[in-house]
């Protein structure tokens, strides 16, 4: 049984088609990486899964429930999201960024929320930065707080929207390490990323999206070694060249 099933999804912004007849499914504990040129609809696809963006037609099922029949806040509690620009709450400490959702959405008491927040900060290697504000943290540290914030809600699935694209090269590694640990720990992850090293090592499946359509989908070996489409080969070749 798939945890996530995307079925014939279409989406356009005005007259501009962004997603066209996109269908795929992923099981629990799977890591799926979506790659594609900019403007191919990758981020839009992620945002449709937690309904930050609404689809025009098609269906999306989480755990066999069509997501538009579920309360959107309940859906988002079950589907975490990590953003390219971190989007940490600037007026709250690292700990406060995590406790806000725990308290407001899950209704935990302050001590419970803080204990849980500290636990997750420890998991991403930031136990000593609980009191720091976002502006006092490096980009890599901010993104790890962003991941801890998503994780602490105990989501069934986490969406990663180019989590390392806004980072200086020397800070990418610490974020990828956290993501690899999550993947090994059995977290279900749907990731848009250009990090081919991560895709190769952690992904169960890679989807190549171009102009809003799925061009090719399969395990990393297949897409990297023997892609069916020339476009896939060209694109992955360029990315791998860029990110050695």
């Amino acid at each position: 049984m798939s945890l996530l099933r995307v079925d014939s999804v279409d989406k356009s912004y005005g007259n501009e088609p962004v997603l066209h007849d996109v269908s795929f499914g992923m099981d629990r504990q799977q890591v799926e990486v979506i790659v594609g040129p900019s403007g191919s609809g990758k981020s839009t696809l992620l945002r449709c899964v937690n309904r930050l963006t609404e689809i025009d037609s098609g269906e999306i099922y989480l755990d066999d429930e069509e997501i538009h029949t579920v309360d959107e806040n309940e859906l988002r509690r079950r589907v975490g999201m990590v953003f390219q620009d971190f989007n940490l709450f600037a007026h709250l400490t690292a700990r406060g960024n995590i406790t806000l959702g725990l308290r407001e959405v899950l209704g935990l008491s302050k001590p419970e929320a803080e204990a849980k927040a500290d636990d997750y900060l420890d998991r991403v290697g930031l136990a000593d930065q609980a009191e720091s504000y976002p502006a006092e943290l490096s980009g890599g540290q901010q993104q790890r707080v962003g991941i801890a914030r998503a994780l602490a809600m105990d989501p069934e699935l986490i969406l990663f929207d180019e989590p390392t694209s806004a980072l200086d090269p020397e800070l990418i590694g610490e974020v990828l390490t956290v993501m690899e640990d999550l993947a090994e720990g059995g977290m279900t992850m749907l990731c848009v990323t250009h990090e081919m090293g991560f895709a190769r090592s952690a992904a169960d499946t890679i989807t190549f999206l171009d102009e809003g359509r799925i061009v090719e989908r399969g395990p990393p070996e297949q897409l990297f070694e023997s892609p069916e489409h020339e476009r896939t080969e060209t694109f992955l070749g360029e990315l791998t060249g860029l990110h050695q």
Binding site: D85, A90, V105, Y133
Partner: protein, 238 residues
């Protein structure tokens, strides 16, 4: 003696009438407080409505703001004083002012201030990145929760410098209540030098109340500077 020449007897006259000026300060400070409170009470929600509201309410708020910002404050005060059906309830003891004049002045200064405070707050809300709102929604918070816990706390901090300006403007503009004879600082000062044979004291009186206005704005601004730095977000630009 020519009026306008500073002379010791005029300073002595001011000292002898210090209680009049103190009452004027009390009225000025009261009027500033009531006007700013009304301005905040209406301006804060109207800024939020302009950003998040839609339909007739947002339009109404926006139009009211344009009209209020486009009308001279003296016109507003005189208009409210003479056209609003405020009962002549009588005078307030001790500070000796007409209550209906005080209410008219509060409404004029307060509504005008609301129109400006609303813009300050609207700008601050809009300066908070959309991404933070999305992040809050992405952990399952409702839009209202996200606005309340993520947007507002930051927007209020960013509004402080604008509110500080607004405070200074309202405090000084209470002197416009002079036009309807409300006994605030300027009106009471005028009454002093209009006394028979006291026209020589005009400059001394005006210098004195200028210093008083300055001390009031300066100290309050310093206090607000402190509040601003006290609640600043560590490491942030605000």
């Amino acid at each position: 003696m020519e009026p306008g020449v500073l002379q010791a007897s005029d300073w002595g006259f001011i000292l002898a009438n210090w209680d009049t000026l103190v009452l004027g300060v009390v009225v000025t400070v009261l009027l500033t407080a009531t006007s700013l409170t009304l301005g905040f009470g209406l301006g804060f929600p109207s800024g939020a409505i302009e950003v998040y509201g839609d339909g007739w309410l947002a339009n109404a708020v926006s139009t009211a703001g344009i009209v209020l910002r486009g009308t001279p404050i003296v016109v507003l005060i005189v208009l409210f004083y003479f056209t609003l059906p405020l009962p002549r309830i009588g005078t307030v003891p001790v500070i000796d002012i007409q209550l209906n004049a005080f209410i008219a002045a509060t409404l004029a200064l307060g509504l005008r201030s609301a129109a400006y405070q609303g813009q300050v707050f609207r700008g601050s809300i809009q300066s908070i990145g959309e991404g933070q709102l999305e992040a809050a929604r992405s952990v399952g918070m409702t839009k209202l929760q996200a606005i309340r816990h993520v947007v507002f706390p930051q927007a209020v901090r960013r509004s402080l410098p604008g509110f500080q300006n607004e405070f200074t403007i309202v405090l000084k503009d209470t002197s416009v209540a002079f036009a309807i004879g409300l006994a605030e600082l300027l009106t009471r000062a005028e009454r002093l030098y209009l006394q028979p044979g006291r026209d020589t004291a005009v400059i001394e009186v005006i210098i004195t109340i200028s210093v008083i206005y300055f001390v009031l704005t300066f100290t309050t601004n310093r206090a607000l500077d402190y509040v601003h730095s006290r609640y600043a977000i560590p490491g942030g630009t605000q």
